[in-house]
């Protein structure tokens, strides 16, 4: 155990009497409990947004794939009574609309929510210490640091990834996606009034299809990194990761000051 602690356990207090006496908790467990700390980080709207957003992205990737490369032709009814491609596109558009509303709600919450709700939307490039910590975190991922540091919200590397993949990535997908939707909705529709400028600016909207498609892969790459890093940190780091996005509480595994 480390020499320094951010708090002194009250050794005269015996915690978890019932658990101890029924044989559930060992002496080591009690020792560990005395040293654990936790902090509330993510408020419920942030957590709810995270999971809705994740679900929408899964639906959007699946349906988007089949819009670009449709399922094999099937005929089980007359064309009039069959709506395979129609439902796939409906699923894509419905998920996209939920994702869009969610993203705006998330931006709203960055203003009214707690400090950690803002972290997704900026990168503190002017903070010299922050850059130093980016290097530290890089070294941790390159196995050059024996032990990671404790972070309340995102670690500096995660903040960079969140900002570029999610904040910018989702914004890009929303803009290009709504411009593509505006093509079908046609001039005079709300989506065309809002996003028609992008159709005009790009010129040939086949380009818009291509970049929207590349954007999907950008998000897929983020997902691979994000899920891997979350699970890895949950196991190897000194704090909770996965459960934090469920309960909102970050639990630290030790009580050392740094």
């Amino acid at each position: 155990m480390a020499d320094q602690s951010i708090h002194t356990p009250n050794m005269e207090v015996e915690p978890l009497e019932a658990s101890r006496l029924t044989g559930d908790a060992t002496a080591q467990d009690i020792d560990s409990i005395r040293r654990r700390t936790s902090v509330f980080v993510y408020e419920w709207p942030v957590r709810l947004w995270h999971w809705i957003n994740a679900l929408c992205i899964m639906v959007l990737i699946g349906t988007g794939w089949f819009i670009a490369s449709p399922l094999p032709t099937m005929t089980f009814a007359e064309a009039t009574h069959q709506f395979v491609m129609g439902y796939i596109r409906f699923g894509h558009f419905a998920a996209a609309q939920i994702l869009t509303v969610g993203f705006f709600a998330r931006i709203y919450w960055a203003f009214v929510g707690n400090h950690h709700a803002k972290q997704l939307f900026y990168v503190p490039i002017l903070n010299k210490r922050w850059w130093k910590e980016v290097v530290f975190e890089l070294k941790w991922y390159l196995f050059l640091e024996a032990e990671p540091k404790k972070y309340v919200g995102h670690n500096p590397l995660a903040q960079i990834a969140m900002f570029f993949f999610m904040t910018l990535g989702i914004t890009f997908m929303i803009l290009t996606g709504w411009a593509l939707y505006a093509e079908g909705a046609q001039a005079g529709s709300l989506s065309h009034n809002v996003m028609g400028w992008l159709i005009g600016w790009v010129g040939n909207t086949q380009i818009l299809h291509s970049v929207h498609h590349l954007g999907m892969w950008f998000i897929v790459i983020f997902m691979i990194i994000h899920i891997y890093a979350a699970i890895r940190e949950d196991i190897l780091s000194r704090q909770s990761m996965v459960s934090t996005m469920i309960s909102g509480t970050r639990t630290f595994k030790d009580d050392r000051p740094e």
Binding site: A68, P70, P72, E183, G184, L214, I221, R232
Partner: protein, 362 residues
């Protein structure tokens, strides 16, 4: 200006009856999407207005615009508009040639300064001082600028004049440049297509001559009445698209059944034109109806969007056979492999530490 005849007088001279004239007016009104109340307005304008002269110049092009134009479905529209145009200047169609032709151009410009419409078929190449297209012994770009100087408005015929078309496809060695990037101080209406539909061409000219103004344009400067919707939005095979019924191979049963050509690379979903409503050759057919996907000929840079037969565009920056999926899958594969390797090293490191801790404890 009193010696200039009205449209109606020109028509009557060509032996067109009043009855046919009124038919033409109502047909034009409906082609332009105007209500019946506009029919007398069109008729009145044609009876009283002196006709607007049109100068038709040709740059780097294949003359398919002219070919399309002279095949207008309504012969009246073609004859009348065409004869009016050929009276002034059109290299392909006028009787004069050589110095006489060039003199006719100068005369028209002088006579109708600020009143004529300049119709441009093709585009000027700007590389090597425009030497890749010579008209009357001079680079075409000079003739274009000269003729545009006193024009009331400019019509960009076809994909060449509007966007550059094949001669502007990458790497564009002659630096073929669409008209709106050379002429920047005149109202320009783009009528893209390779070629544009004849009825669209006559419709645009008739609108401009009748109402003395440009029709409503979309963001890219195309007449909204003809380019407001995608081929896809009005395609008669659209129900098969929504049903998920596609042609999978050119010679399969689905092709015979007339299923959607989306998987064969049809560019209908990204192409704005009137093909699926007005159609071609007097409404006989259009590419999709004859079993081939749309190639998107009325869109900007349609030659540079990869194969005509792929829905997911080839991105040759990443190699000849690459597209968004191949690039994305490669990138995701590399990242996935990296993650797997990283996870393996992490597990080894963790195991190593555990062993060390145990040794220390022991």
């Amino acid at each position: 200006m009193s010696q200039i005849e009205t449209f109606y007088e020109v028509m009557r001279k060509q032996g067109i009856t009043r009855r046919s004239f009124m038919k033409y007016c109502s047909l034009t009104a409906s082609a332009l999407g105007l209500g019946p109340s506009f029919v007398p307005q069109i008729a009145h304008a044609m009876e009283t207005k002196p006709r607007t002269p049109v100068i038709w110049v040709n740059g780097l092009e294949c003359t398919c615009c002219s070919e399309s134009f002279i095949r207008g479905a309504h012969p009246l529209a073609k004859d009348v508009v065409l004869s009016m145009i050929s009276l002034d200047y059109s290299e392909t169609l006028m009787a004069a040639a050589g110095h006489h032709a060039e003199a006719a151009l100068e005369e028209t410009i002088e006579k109708y300064k600020g009143n004529y419409i300049l119709a441009v078929e093709g585009n000027p190449p700007l590389n090597e001082d425009g030497m890749f297209c010579i008209v009357g012994g001079k680079p075409f770009v000079e003739q274009l600028k000269h003729a545009a100087q006193h024009a009331k408005a400019v019509i960009s015929w076809g994909a060449c004049a509007s966007y550059g078309c094949v001669q502007a496809a990458k790497p564009n060695p002659t630096q073929a440049t669409p008209v709106h990037k050379v002429i920047t101080d005149k109202p320009i209406i783009k009528v893209p297509g390779c070629p544009p539909i004849a009825e669209v061409m006559t419709g645009v000219i008739t609108y401009m001559l009748t109402f003395d103004r440009l029709p409503e344009l979309d963001r890219q400067g195309r007449p909204a009445m003809f380019y407001g919707q995608r081929i896809h939005d009005k395609c008669y095979r659209r129900p098969h698209f929504d049903a998920g019924q596609f042609v999978e191979h050119w010679d399969d049963d689905n092709a015979r059944k007339g299923f959607c050509l989306y998987k064969m690379g049809c560019k209908g979903p990204t192409t704005y034109n009137a093909c699926s409503t007005v159609r071609w050759n007097e409404g006989v057919s259009f590419p999709i109806q004859s079993g081939h996907g749309c190639i998107g000929c009325s869109e900007d840079g349609f030659w540079d969007q990869g194969s005509f037969y792929n829905r997911v565009t080839d991105l040759t920056q990443f190699g000849i056979e690459a597209n968004a999926d191949k690039i994305g899958m490669t990138a995701a594969g590399v990242v996935g492999a990296g993650v797997a390797a990283h996870a393996a090293v992490s597990a080894l490191k963790a195991a190593q530490r555990k062993t060390q801790d145990k040794k220390e404890e022991a």
